[in-house]
């Protein structure tokens, strides 16, 4: 199972995204190799921000447009939504302490904690720096 970061989902949906082709090709390759995908509610929210904000695209998606696509993504088959529980929070906070992480970077660690809580050891992302040097996971660069 491969955890998918928000940027890969947005790049897959948005044809003008600089990593659109790479993201779509990656997701197809994953399914071709019969591997399951997963994402968390946080990822869904972050993809929503990126796709509907005027900061990132000239013509941002409407909430309705984006939600319909995300629903379809969830229902593609072999895509699971995994949620963080207490263990994810404990892992995130402990790692933040160990690595002196501050500010919004805690959200990277909540993703990390969510993955470990669900036994997921691979994450596909465009920004690999978010997950560098986190033990027990493999980071797959999509770009």
């Amino acid at each position: 199972m491969i955890f998918v970061d928000a940027n890969v989902i947005v790049a897959h949906f948005a044809k003008s995204h600089e990593h659109h082709k790479a993201s779509s090709a990656f997701l197809d390759e994953v399914l071709k190799n019969r591997q399951h995908l997963a994402f968390s509610p946080q990822i869904g929210g972050e993809a929503f921000i990126a796709a509907t904000s005027k900061r990132f695209f000239k013509v941002p998606a409407t909430p309705d447009e984006f939600i319909r696509l995300l629903e379809k993504f969830r229902n593609t088959g072999f895509v699971s939504v995994v949620s963080p529980g207490e263990r994810a929070m404990d892992i995130a906070l402990q790692t933040a302490k160990e690595k002196s992480v501050t500010s919004a970077h805690i959200f990277d660690l909540i993703i990390y904690g969510t993955m470990l809580e669900h036994g997921i050891t691979r994450i596909a992302t465009i920004n690999v720096k978010h997950f560098r040097n986190l033990k027990g996971i493999e980071v797959i660069q999509v770009a």
Partner: protein, 74 residues
């Protein structure tokens, strides 16, 4: 190639243990085929979502989480 009728005739004449083996193998093959269909369907559905959003020009590179959350007031 034999007709379906001819094939059925052969199956009908199989001894019990051979018949069981036949159906076990048939189930196996059908399962693989169903499985393949599901993965292919998933790929098709995923491909339909590719480029489904026309957001115009990308104004900033894929943001890190700090940038993503910077407008969020707590």
């Amino acid at each position: 190639m034999m007709t379906a009728e001819q094939a059925l005739e052969i199956v009908r004449k199989l001894p019990e243990h051979e018949l069981q083996r036949f159906f076990a193998r048939l189930n196996e093959l059908t399962k693989v085929s169903d499985d393949e269909d599901k993965w292919n369907l998933a790929r098709r559905k995923m491909a339909e979502l590719s480029g489904a959003l026309d957001l115009g020009e990308q104004l900033a590179p894929a943001p890190d989480r700090e940038t993503l959350y910077e407008d969020r007031e707590l």
